[in-house]
C-alpha cells in the first residue's frame, strides 16, 4: 500500500533526476580528450627544449629525403622509372606549382620550427641560451633549412612576403650559420662548428661569393661529414630514398651517369637487378625501365649527408676553376678521388676541367638533393631536352616553383 503524498512522490522523482544529473556532471561527460597532443604553452619549459631541438632535426630530415627523391628524378641523377603521378612528370623535366606543396611546406616547417623555436628558447632558457649546444644546433638547422630552400626553389617568400630571389634564402642561411658558428664555439661543439662552416660555405656558393665560400670550406677536412639522421625506429624517421628504390621501384640508375660505371663508382653504388637475385624485380614501376637499384642508402636508417669535406674540396676546385687556375682545380678534384681510392684524372682545357668537375660533383653529391641546383646555376645542357631513359622537354625545370598552397594563401604571390 502506497501511503506517500503526491508531493512526496514528486519529490522522490525529482531526487532521482537530480541524482542522475549529478552523476553525469561528475563523470565529466563533456570532456574532450586526445592525450597524444601537447598544448603549445606546455612547451615553455626548460625540460622540453631538447625535444624541441630534436624536433628541428626531425622535421628537416622528414622533408630532406623527399627533396632528394624529387631532385634525383627531375635531374640527371636517376631515371624516373616509377608509376607515381609525379614520377611521370619529373621524367620529362616538368614540375609545376601544384606539384611542390609538400617540399615547400616541409622546408618552411623545418625553417619555422627552428627559427620560432629559437625565439622560444631564448625566452625559456634566459641566461642559459648563449653557449648552449642546443642553441648552436637550432641555429644550424635554421641555416640548413634556408640553404635547402634556396637551392631547391626558384624563388622564396617569408612570412607571406612577395617572391624574393634565391639569394634571400642564402643570405638568411648565412646569418643563421654565423650564429651557429658563434654558439658552437662558445659551447665547444666542434662537429657542429665544422658543420656550420660547411653550411655557410654552401650558402656562399648560392650567393656566388666564392671567396667567402672557400674561406669556410677550408675549415673542414676532407673526411668530415655531418648527416641528416634517419632511422628504422619509426616510419617518420625512415629514409624515403631507400624505400622508393628497395621496397618500390620508382627510380633507377639505368641510363644515368651512376649506372654507366661497371663496377659502380664507390660514391654511387647500385645493384643491377637484371643479374642480381637479391632484387624482387628487375623492372621499375613504369613496367619498362630496368631497375638499377641505388645502394648508397641501403637501409631505412641510412643517413643523408648534408655537409661533407669532399664537397668542400670541390667548392675550392670550382672557385679555382672560376679563377682560371685549372691545374689547382684538378688537384682539388683529385684529392676527393684519392679519398675514395679512385685514380686521378687529368684535364687541361677550361671545358674539360668543367666536365670533370660536373661529373665529380654529380657522383660525390649523388642522391643528396643537390644536383638540381648545380644544373640550375650552371645552366647545364641537360636542361635543354636532356633525359634519362625518357626524352625530356626543352627547358627542363631546374628548380621548383613556389607551391600552389602558397599561391592560394599569400596575396603577394601568384602561380
Amino acid at each position: 500500500m502506497n501511503n506517500r503524498t503526491p508531493f512526496q512522490r514528486r519529490l522522490g522523482r525529482a531526487g532521482i533526476v537530480l541524482l542522475l544529473a549529478c552523476t553525469l556532471a561528475a563523470c565529466n561527460v563533456f570532456d574532450v580528450k586526445n592525450p597524444g597532443k601537447i598544448l603549445d604553452e606546455d612547451l615553455n619549459n626548460e625540460r622540453a627544449i631538447r625535444a624541441l631541438v630534436v624536433g628541428m632535426s626531425a622535421d628537416f630530415s622528414v622533408v630532406y629525403d623527399d627533396l632528394g627523391f624529387i631532385v634525383a628524378r627531375l635531374s640527371d641523377e636517376m631515371a624516373a622509372s616509377g608509376s607515381y603521378f609525379l614520377s611521370t612528370r619529373a621524367r620529362f623535366g616538368i614540375i609545376e606549382s601544384d606539384d611542390t606543396d609538400f617540399y615547400w611546406e616541409g622546408l618552411h616547417q623545418a625553417r619555422f620550427v627552428a627559427e620560432n623555436g629559437l625565439v622560444r628558447m631564448e625566452d625559456v632558457l634566459g641566461d642559459q641560451f648563449n653557449g648552449n649546444p642546443l642553441t648552436a644546433r637550432a641555429y644550424f638547422f635554421a641555416g640548413l633549412a634556408n640553404r635547402a630552400l634556396g637551392e631547391a626553389f626558384c624563388q622564396v617568400t617569408y612570412e607571406g612576403s612577395e617572391p624574393l630571389p634565391k639569394a634571400a634564402a642564402f643570405e638568411r642561411a648565412v646569418g643563421h650559420f654565423t650564429n651557429a658558428i658563434s654558439q658552437a664555439q662558445q659551447a665547444g661543439e666542434n662537429d657542429l662548428l665544422l658543420a656550420a662552416y660547411g653550411g655557410r660555405a654552401q650558402a656562399h656558393v648560392g650567393l656566388g661569393d666564392w671567396a667567402s665560400a672557400v674561406a669556410d670550406a677550408q675549415q673542414l677536412s676532407t673526411d668530415f661529414a655531418y648527416e641528416a639522421i634517419y632511422s628504422d625506429n619509426s616510419g617518420r624517421e625512415s629514409n624515403e630514398i631507400y624505400d622508393e628504390t628497395h621496397q618500390r621501384y620508382e627510380m633507377s640508375a639505368f641510363g644515368a651517369l651512376a649506372g654507366s660505371f661497371d663496377p659502380p663508382d664507390p660514391r654511387a653504388p647500385y645493384t643491377d637487378c637484371r643479374v642480381d637475385d637479391d632484387c624482387s624485380t628487375n623492372i621499375g614501376a613504369d613496367g619498362s625501365t630496368f631497375h638499377l637499384r641505388q645502394e648508397k642508402y641501403n637501409a631505412l636508417g641510412s643517413n643523408i649527408p648534408v655537409v661533407k669535406g669532399t664537397e668542400m674540396r670541390l667548392i675550392e676546385a670550382e672557385a679555382l676553376w672560376e679563377q682560371g687556375n685549372l691545374d689547382a682545380a684538378m688537384a682539388k678534384i683529385n684529392e676527393v678521388r684519392a679519398f675514395f681510392d679512385l685514380d686521378p684524372l687529368t684535364a687541361t682545357t677550361r671545358e674539360e676541367v668543367f666536365d670533370v668537375l660536373d661529373k665529380e660533383r654529380h657522383l660525390t653529391l649523388w642522391l643528396e638533393g643537390r644536383r638540381l641546383f648545380d644544373l640550375h646555376r650552371w645552366d647545364h645542357p641537360f636542361l635543354r631536352g636532356g633525359g634519362v631513359v625518357y626524352e625530356g622537354i626543352d627547358n627542363r625545370a631546374s628548380c621548383l616553383p613556389i607551391a600552389d598552397s602558397e599561391c592560394q594563401t599569400n596575396p603577394n604571390v601568384s602561380c
Partner: protein, 947 residues
C-alpha cells in the same frame, strides 16, 4: 576540459518530470488478421481511441484489453504498410466485447506513426517533411548481403554504391548527396533509439576496402527502417545530423507461446566478364590458363559459396515478451581465399510493469571474421599484377604469390539499449532511450617469412575500439484547445558521447617461417591514439493541428559540443514545417483519395574534429629514437559547427482507391559556416591545415516516386513502381581558396559540384593525323547527379511472388586508373591496335583522341575519366509460400525463395565497373577505380520455416 554546456543541459533536464494517473473498467477481445491471406498479425497495437488503453496482439493475432470503461468507444489498429482501421465498440459493465480486424495493404497511410525526427510519436499526416519507410516484408523480397543492400534501389534520394566485390566490404551511402567537404557525409544510424557507429571501419592500403559496422546488423532482426534525408527533417538531432538519419527498429516479442522461425540460405557469388568485351580473357582474370600461378580451374574467379542460418523465437506473457535470434553465416568471395564469416545473437525483451509503463531492453552481439586479398592501388595487389600481366611486380609473373599475404579483420560488436516509455495519461508521453554501442575492430596484415616483396616478412596489427553512448529523453503533451484546434508540445534532451582508441603494432624481419605476432620481428613499432568527445543538446517543439488536416510545427534545438572553440557558444538549429491534407476538404474529388501538401525548413550541423580549436604539437621521434615535437594544429578558439539549412516542399497522395501512390519533393540545401581545412600561408611556418568556418555549399534536387497497383485480384496482385531523384551540389565559397584538392585529380572548386574531376584532356579530338593538344578541363562530378529505380512485384494465387528491383545512377564521371596505367604499359586491350600503329610510325589516320587515349606519350588520367552512368538489375526474387496442408503438423508456414543480385549491368564506362571504388572507407570524398575487384553477382536459395 569540461564543457560548460553539460551543466546547462542537465539543468534543463530537471524541468522535465511529470506525473499523472488514470483508471479503467471492462474487456474487449478479438483477432487481427491480414486481409489477403487470413494469417494472424502478431505484435500489432490495438488501442482504445481517447483513452490511455491499448495492447499488442499475441503471436496468434489475438488481443485482450481489460478494465475498459463501460460505454461506446472506438478501437484503432495501425500497422506499417496497411490501412489504419477503426471500429466502434460498446462495452457493457462486466461483459466482454469481441472486435476482429482484417488489415488491408496500403501504399500510403496518413495515420501510421513515425518517430524519427519528430520529437515524439507523430502521424504521417502531421509531418511536414518527407520520410521513407522500409518494412521487413520488403527486405525479405531481395537478397541482403550487407547493409547497403537494405537501402539500395528502395527509394528516391538514397544512393548506395557497391564499392567492391569482396565479401564483407562496406558500401558508400549518401542521403541527398554531399553537403560537407571536411566532416563526412554519412547519415547517422540509430538502432532502437541508440546511436551506433555509422562510418566504415578503418581501411588499409593493402586491401583498399573497409568493412562496415552496419554489416554487423542481422537483416532478419529488422522490423522496419525509417529514413529522413535532410536537415529539414533532422533538426531535432542537432549537430552531426546534416547527412540525414536512418533509424532501424528491430523485432519485438509478443504474447503467446514460443513462435520459432528458421531460415537456411545457400548460394554463391559469381563474377561475370571483366573489362572490355573484345578481350575474351577478361584482362587475364576470367581466363588465366596460360599464366603462371593460375588456379587449377583456369580462372582467378570462382563461384564463392555463401551460406547462412537464422533461428529466432518470439513469445511472452502480458508482463514480459521476448525476441531471441541467432545467425551463423559464411560467404566466400569470388577470388580464393577471400571470405567473410559471422555470427550474431540478439535478445530483445519487453516488460510492462504497469499499464502505462513499457520497458524494452534490446541487446545484440556479433562477431565477424573476414579474410581479404590484397587489392587496389597496391604493388602487391592481385588485380594490379594480373591485369598488368608481365608488367606487374611478381617475380616470374606468378601472381599467386601475392595471395601468400595474410589480411584479416575481426570485429566484435555489441549494442545494448534501454527504452522506457511512460504514458501517465492518454495525452502525455515520456520516453527515455539509453544505450551503448561498442565495437572492437582488429586488422592484421602479415607478409610471411619468404614473401616475395618483403623476404624477411613483417606483421602489422591495428586494434580499434569504438564506444558510442546515447542518453535521450523526450516528452510530449497533446492538448485539445478547441473542437478544431489541437496542440502537441514536445521537449527533450540528449547526450551523446563517443570515444575512439587506436593501437597499432608493427614488426618486421622475422627469424624464420611460421605463424607470427608483432613482436616476432627484430624491429618493432607501436602507435596509440585516443580521442573522446561529447555533445549535448535540448529541444522544444510546438505543433498546432487544425481540424486534423492542417498542421504547423515550430521547433528549436540548442547544442553544445566539446569540440567547439572556447569562444563559441551554443549552436541553435531552428525548424518550421507545415502539412496540409487538402484531400480532407469536401470539394476534393472522390477518386483522389489522399493528398498532403507539405513544406519544411530546418537546420542541422556537423561538428569539427576533436581538438581542432586548440593549438597543439605532436610527440614524435627524431635523431634515431630521441623524443621530439612537431607542430600539429594551429588552433581556432572561434570554431563552431558547420550548418546546413534546408527547405523542402512537395506532396504525397493516393488516387483511385489507393491503387496509385505519388510523391514529389523538392529540396534546397545550403551549408554555411562550412568547415574548410584552410591552409595557413606555408611561408609563415605551420603548414598543416586548420579548420575554419568559412565555406558555403549548395545542394539541390528533386525526388519523385510513383507506385501503381495494376491488378489486385485473387489470381494476380501486380504492383509496379519507380522513382527518380536528382542531386546537384555546388561549392559557392571556399573561404577565399580557389581550389581544394582531395586527391586523384578531384577538387572542390567554386561553381562546380562537390567534388569534381579536373584533368588534362585532348582539345582537338577529331583532328586526323594531328598531335593531341592537351589542356586541363572540368570533367564532371564525382558523384551521380541522378538516380532512378524501377521495381515490380507480382503475386500469383497469393503464394508465388516475383520481386524485381532495378536501379540506375548517372550524370557523373569516374577515373579508371586501371585503364590508364595499363595503357602506359601497353597492355590495355582497346589500345593494342593503335599502339601497334604508333610503334610502326603509321599515325596518319589516327585522330588526336586516339592518340590521347592510347599513345603513352600523351595519355592522361583525364582521358580515362569518363561517364560512369549505369543501370543494374539489383535483385530478382521468386518466393513461394507453401500451402499449410502440405506442411507437417507443427509447422505453421514455410517459404521458398530463389534470389539473385546484380544480375546484369548496362554501362558504357570503359574501366572495370562504374561502382568500383579504390578507397572503401566511408570518409573518403573522392571516387576512383584502380585495380579493385568489381561488385559481384549473387545467386541464392533459401527456405524459411515458421513453427
Amino acid at each position: 576540459m569540461t564543457n560548460r554546456y553539460g551543466r546547462l543541459i542537465v539543468s534543463m533536464f530537471l524541468l522535465l518530470c511529470w506525473t499523472a494517473s488514470a483508471a479503467a473498467q471492462g474487456t474487449i477481445t478479438g483477432t487481427v488478421t491480414y486481409a489477403d491471406t487470413d494469417d494472424s498479425v502478431p505484435a500489432v497495437n490495438v488501442i482504445v481511441v481517447g483513452l490511455n488503453l491499448g495492447t499488442a496482439t499475441g503471436l496468434d493475432g489475438t488481443y485482450r484489453i481489460d478494465n475498459v470503461p463501460a460505454g461506446p468507444h472506438t478501437l484503432e489498429v495501425r500497422f506499417l504498410g496497411y490501412k489504419t482501421t477503426r471500429k466502434p465498440v460498446t462495452v457493457v459493465d462486466g461483459q466482454t466485447a469481441t472486435v476482429n480486424f482484417s488489415l488491408e495493404e496500403s501504399l500510403l497511410e496518413m495515420d501510421e506513426v513515425v518517430v524519427t525526427g519528430t520529437g515524439g510519436n507523430a502521424r504521417r499526416r502531421e509531418i511536414g517533411n518527407s520520410i521513407e519507410q522500409i518494412t521487413a516484408a520488403q527486405l525479405e523480397a531481395a537478397p541482403i548481403a550487407d547493409f547497403g543492400d537494405l537501402l539500395q534501389g528502395r527509394a528516391a534520394g538514397i544512393m548506395v554504391m557497391d564499392n567492391s566485390g569482396m565479401a564483407g566490404a562496406g558500401s558508400t551511402i549518401r542521403l541527398r548527396g554531399n553537403n560537407s567537404i571536411s566532416q563526412g557525409n554519412e547519415p547517422l544510424i540509430y538502432i532502437d533509439g541508440v546511436r551506433v557507429l555509422s562510418d566504415n571501419f578503418a581501411g588499409d592500403p593493402e586491401l583498399n576496402q573497409a568493412p562496415s559496422p552496419l554489416n554487423d546488423i542481422n537483416p532478419d532482426d529488422i522490423e522496419r527502417i525509417e529514413i529522413v534525408k535532410g536537415a529539414a527533417a533532422t533538426t531535432l538531432y542537432g549537430t552531426e545530423a546534416a547527412g540525414g538519419v536512418i533509424q532501424i527498429f528491430t523485432k519485438r516479442g509478443a504474447q503467446g507461446r514460443p513462435n520459432w522461425s528458421f531460415e537456411v540460405t545457400q548460394g554463391f557469388n559469381n563474377m561475370g566478364h571483366v573489362g572490355p568485351d573484345s578481350d575474351k580473357t577478361g584482362l587475364g582474370l576470367n581466363d588465366c590458363s596460360d599464366q603462371p600461378g593460375c588456379p587449377s580451374n583456369g580462372s582467378w574467379f570462382r563461384n564463392g559459396h555463401l551460406q547462412s542460418y537464422n533461428l529466432s523465437v518470439r513469445g511472452g506473457t502480458e508482463a514480459l515478451t521476448y525476441f531471441l535470434s541467432g545467425r551463423l553465416g559464411r560467404e566466400e568471395g569470388v577470388i580464393a581465399p577471400q571470405y567473410s564469416a559471422d555470427y550474431a545473437v540478439r535478445g530483445n525483451f519487453g516488460f510492462t510493469p504497469a499499464r502505462n509503463l513499457s520497458i524494452r531492453f534490446n541487446n545484440a552481439y556479433s562477431f565477424r571474421k573476414t579474410r581479404w586479398i590484397p587489392d587496389g592501388n597496391n604493388a602487391e595487389g592481385l588485380l594490379l599484377n594480373v591485369i598488368r600481366g608481365e608488367r606487374g611486380y611478381t617475380p616470374g609473373n606468378d601472381d599467386s604469390k601475392v595471395l601468400d599475404m595474410r589480411l584479416f579483420t575481426n570485429t566484435n560488436h555489441f549494442t545494448t539499449g534501454l527504452n522506457i516509455s511512460w504514458t501517465p495519461s492518454a495525452n502525455m508521453l515520456h520516453r527515455i532511450n539509453a544505450g551503448l554501442d561498442f565495437a572492437e575492430f582488429d586488422y592484421s596484415e602479415e607478409r610471411p617469412w619468404g614473401f616475395f616483396y618483403v623476404p624477411e616478412g613483417d606483421r602489422e596489427d591495428d586494434r580499434y575500439t569504438y564506444r558510442n553512448m546515447t542518453f535521450d529523453y523526450a516528452g510530449s503533451l497533446d492538448l485539445r484547445l478547441s473542437s478544431d484546434l489541437k496542440s502537441s508540445s514536445a521537449w527533450g534532451a540528449q547526450i551523446y558521447s563517443k570515444s575512439f582508441i587506436q593501437l597499432n603494432g608493427f614488426g618486421e624481419k622475422f627469424a624464420g617461417p611460421g605463424d607470427k605476432v608483432v613482436n616476432s620481428g627484430a624491429i618493432t613499432e607501436a602507435f596509440e591514439d585516443r580521442i573522446s568527445s561529447a555533445s549535448g543538446g535540448f529541444f522544444l517543439q510546438q505543433r498546432f493541428g487544425w481540424q486534423d488536416r492542417l498542421f504547423l510545427t515550430a521547433g528549436l534545438r540548442l547544442d553544445g559540443h566539446s569540440t567547439f572553440g572556447d569562444n563559441f557558444g551554443l549552436a541553435p538549429y531552428p525548424k518550421f514545417s507545415a502539412s496540409y491534407l487538402v484531400s480532407e476538404h469536401r470539394f476534393w474529388p472522390q477518386w483522389w483519395d489522399t493528398m498532403k501538401l507539405r513544406v519544411a525548413y530546418g537546420e542541422s550541423g556537423k561538428a569539427p574534429d576533436a581538438f581542432s580549436s586548440i593549438r597543439t604539437w605532436d610527440s614524435v621521434s627524431g635523431d634515431d629514437g630521441e623524443p621530439a615535437v612537431t607542430p600539429s594544429n594551429l588552433g581556432n578558439p572561434d570554431l563552431g559547427p558547420e550548418r546546413t539549412r534546408e527547405v523542402e516542399f512537395g506532396f504525397e497522395g493516393t488516387l483511385l482507391d489507393g491503387r496509385v501512390f505519388a510523391e514529389l519533393t523538392v529540396y534546397d540545401q545550403r551549408t554555411y559556416d562550412a568547415l574548410i581545412a584552410v591552409q595557413p600561408t606555408p611561408s609563415r611556418g605551420i603548414p598543416d591545415t586548420q579548420l575554419e568556418n568559412v565555406g558555403e555549399l549548395t545542394n539541390k534536387g528533386v525526388e519523385a516516386t510513383l507506385r501503381l497497383t495494376v491488378l489486385d485480384r485473387e489470381k494476380l496482385r501486380w504492383q509496379v513502381g519507380g522513382y527518380v531523384s536528382t542531386n546537384h551540389s555546388k561549392a559557392v565559397d571556399l573561404g577565399g581558396l580557389e581550389s581544394i584538392s582531395i586527391g586523384w585529380r578531384q577538387y572542390i572548386r567554386p561553381g562546380h559540384p562537390v567534388p569534381s574531376y579536373f584533368h588534362d584532356v585532348v582539345t582537338n579530338p577529331d583532328e586526323v593525323g594531328a598531335t593531341p593538344v592537351m589542356e586541363e578541363q572540368y570533367l564532371g562530378p564525382s558523384y551521380p547527379t541522378h538516380t532512378y529505380g524501377l521495381n515490380m512485384s507480382a503475386t500469383f494465387f497469393r503464394r508465388l511472388t516475383l520481386d524485381v528491383i532495378g536501379e540506375g545512377q548517372g550524370g557523373h564521371v569516374l577515373s579508371s586508373g586501371t585503364a590508364y596505367q595499363n595503357v602506359r604499359r601497353r597492355v590495355w586491350p582497346t589500345c593494342t591496335a593503335i599502339q601497334e600503329q604508333i610503334s610502326a610510325g603509321d599515325t596518319g589516320n589516327l585522330t588526336a583522341r586516339d592518340r590521347a587515349l592510347c599513345d603513352t606519350k600523351y595519355v592522361t588520367y583525364g582521358m580515362w575519366t569518363q561517364a560512369a552512368d549505369f543501370f543494374k538489375l539489383r535483385s530478382m526474387a521468386v518466393s513461394y509460400r507453401l500451402p499449410v496442408r502440405l506442411l507437417p503438423f507443427s509447422v505453421r508456414g514455410a517459404t521458398l525463395r530463389l534470389q539473385a543480385r546484380n544480375l546484369f549491368t548496362i554501362t558504357d564506362y570503359p574501366g572495370l565497373n562504374p561502382e568500383t571504388f579504390e578507397d572503401g572507407s566511408s570518409g573518403a570524398l573522392y571516387r576512383q577505380e584502380y585495380y579493385n575487384i568489381p561488385p559481384a553477382r549473387t545467386f541464392q536459395f533459401s527456405l524459411k520455416v515458421d513453427f
